[in-house]
Amino acid sequence: MDIPHEWFVGFSKSFGLFYLIALSVGITAYAFWPSLGNRFDKAAKSILDDEDGPARGDDGSDPEDEPCR
């Protein structure tokens, strides 16, 4: 554990920058990826009508939607 202070500061400054750029690009790509649009719209609307109790599963919905326990 004998890392000099200057190295630490240098690492913080340079790595921090690359990390920032990589994260921004990744998140922007994710948020604007065209094929995800439908999911987002559906999610945004899903909360407007949700007082009817927990979903029960046997409603003919996609089996993928089964609660994963």
């Binding site: 500061v9 400054k13 921090g16 920032l20 994260l23 998140i27 922007t28 994710y30 948020a31 604007f32 649009g37 999911r39 987002f40 719209d41 559906k42 999610a43 945004a44 609307k45 899903s46 909360i47 407007l48 009508d49 949700d50 007082e51 009817d52 109790g53 927990p54 979903a55 029960r56 599963g57 046997d58 409603d59 003919g60 919905s61 993928e64 939607d65 089964e66 609660p67 994963c68 326990r69």
Partner: protein
């Protein structure tokens, strides 16, 4: 309420409460002659009372209907009421501390009633007591609705809610006895901190377990904000509170960090408590209750994702702007300043997203005070994040730091944003939770709204004026090059503003009292609504499911 628990669950609850009471007894015995002993008695009384409440209902009949057909809302209901109780207590303490600065003799002569001891009762009371309970209660509500799944069990939510309130009680009673670490917004001593870690881990696990049961493919964005709130607060809390107790039988402990490292750690915690306790969680509230109340989906879901990651990533760097011109290395100050300014982008994206959601529903904002609470909260969120970024710029901070400008900024955020979104959400939630036709008095909601808004504006303007005045007086020079004002001169100039801020805070407190009264009356007096769709059904088919055989 107890009728929704099975006998096994009641037994579990009694075991947990009994264990808590035993721990309280041990603390009381070990900490004799120390404030820790008094805390032991408090823990014993709290857990003992719970033990008897559950125990006296142990033999009551068990639930007969299929519980999985409905959401579990009992802890949410209790959480909302506790949050309102803490709002009145915490804000009442705030008015008292504020008036002590205007009229110092209002301190009376007891040791426990000095500004230094009751100020943290105010800050913890409103942040953790009111804000924390509102967050926990609404998170229980939102995670079940957005997942279309009931919570995985009945005892855990009670443990989280009541355990958190035990923490709040131990914290605020401790301050009055002089038990404090002096770390701002993290004052409670080591045993309270340890207890909060336990509660918080259980809270996180409960959240994840509910998410895992969800019937929606996508996790709605409000949950992201709540999850960030739970997770990051845990990390902050653990690191910032690392300490060595002087003795296992006493309350006093010493921070693991000293000097400049401690300063950076404390403000890394302090600013991110603002970020993840007072912003992230409440944005979760906003992203659920505002679209729902306006009956329009959020303006841009994509933007909400972007601003989520923006806030999560940028905020964590901003803490060092609390340490401009201090002995903290210059590059860390600059980094904090830069990120604080960049933070404006995701913050305004969130505020703009909320306001754009209301576009086309402005007539609702005009007529519906509940929605207006949320709208004004979003406006104040935008204002105070702009102010925050501005104040983080080093030369501006040179003027504002150590003055009431900071206090005004915090309260613009805390009263204008956090409290208003909470009250708006509570008004939206109360009739739904208790299945009442509507809130007891719409007039009272209007009164609350205008009192809260007026109180906030008066408070914030008073603090802007006093802060900028004092900051400028401190750095005013005479023509001969000497400092123009003594410290006492600046203090005298503050008096009228201190009176005004007390008045503003009083208006806000009256509003909160009206709100608490209104919710209680809604529960007690309003006829219950025959719920339109209060039968088990999936979101798609709208057909009643068969009651499960018991």
């Amino acid at each position: 309420m107890m009728s929704n628990l099975t006998r096994a669950e009641r037994a579990n609850a009694m075991v947990i409460a009994g264990t808590g009471a035993f721990i309280g007894l041990v603390m009381a015995a070990a900490g004799r002659g120390d404030p820790m002993g008094a805390h032991g008695w408090i823990v014993l009384a709290f857990c003992g009372a719970l033990f008897f409440v559950v125990g006296s209902a142990y033999e009551d009949p068990e639930p007969t209907q299929d519980r999985t057909a409905s959401y579990y809302d009992d802890p949410t209901k209790v959480g909302i009421l506790i949050a309102l109780f803490w709002a009145v207590v915490g804000m009442g303490m705030g008015v008292w501390v504020a008036s002590q600065l205007a009229w110092p003799d209002l301190r009376f002569d007891a040791a426990w009633s000095s500004f230094g001891r009751i100020r943290p009762v105010h800050t913890s009371g409103v942040i953790f007591g009111f804000g924390g309970n509102a967050l926990i209660a609404t998170s229980f509500h939102i995670m079940q609705r957005t997942c279309r799944a009931r919570m995985p069990d009945q005892v855990t939510p009670w443990f989280v809610l009541l355990g958190f309130n035990l923490f709040c009680i131990v914290a605020s009673s401790g301050y009055l006895m002089g038990v404090t670490q002096s770390k701002e917004y993290a004052e409670p001593e080591w045993y309270a901190d340890l207890w909060l870690v336990v509660v918080w881990v259980v809270y996180f696990v409960l959240y994840i377990r509910t998410l895992a049961r969800r019937n929606e493919p996508h996790i709605y964005v409000a949950n992201w904000y709540y999850l960030a709130f739970i997770l990051v607060v845990a990390v902050l809390h653990i690191v910032n509170n690392l300490a060595v107790p002087a003795s296992l039988t006493g309350a006093k402990s010493y921070s693991a960090f000293a000097g400049v490292q401690d300063a950076m750690t404390q403000w890394w915690y302090g600013h991110n408590a603002v970020a993840f306790f007072l912003t992230s969680g409440f944005l979760g509230m906003l992203y659920y209750f505002l679209p729902k109340r306006a009956e329009r989906p959020i303006y841009s879901y994509r933007l909400s994702i972007l601003s989520f990651w923006g806030i999560t990533f940028f905020y964590i760097w901003a803490g060092s702007h609390h340490l401009h011109y201090t002995a903290l290395p210059h590059w860390v100050q600059t980094l904090g300043m830069t990120f604080s300014v960049m933070l404006l982008v995701p913050s305004w994206a969130s505020a703009g997203n909320a306001l754009m959601t209301l576009n086309g529903a402005w007539h609702k904002v005009r007529d519906d005070a509940t929605l207006r609470f949320m709208m004004v909260a979003a406006v104040f969120y935008g204002l105070s994040t702009f102010e925050g970024s501005f104040m983080a710029i080093r030369p501006v901070n040179g003027l504002s730091h150590y003055t009431d400008w900071t206090v005004g900024h915090v309260h613009a955020g805390a009263m204008g944003w956090v409290a208003l979104i909470s009250f708006g959400s509570i008004y939206a939630l109360a009739p739904v939770l208790w299945r009442r036709e509507t809130i007891y008095s719409w007039k009272a909601v209007e009164w609350h709204f205008w009192l809260a808004l007026a109180g906030t504006v008066i408070y914030v303007f008073a603090m802007w004026n006093s802060g900028i005045t004092q900051g400028l007086m401190w750095r005013t020079y005479t023509e001969s090059g000497t400092l123009a004002y003594s410290f006492t001169d600046t203090l005298v100039a503050m008096h009228p503003y201190y009176v005004a801020r007390t008045f503003g805070g009083l208006l806000f407190l009256i509003g909160a009292c009206i709100g608490a009264w209104n919710v209680v009356m809604t529960i007690r007096r309003m006829p219950s609504e025959t719920p339109e769709r209060d039968y088990p059904t999936s979101s798609e088919s709208r057909e009643p499911a068969l009651p499960a055989a018991e």
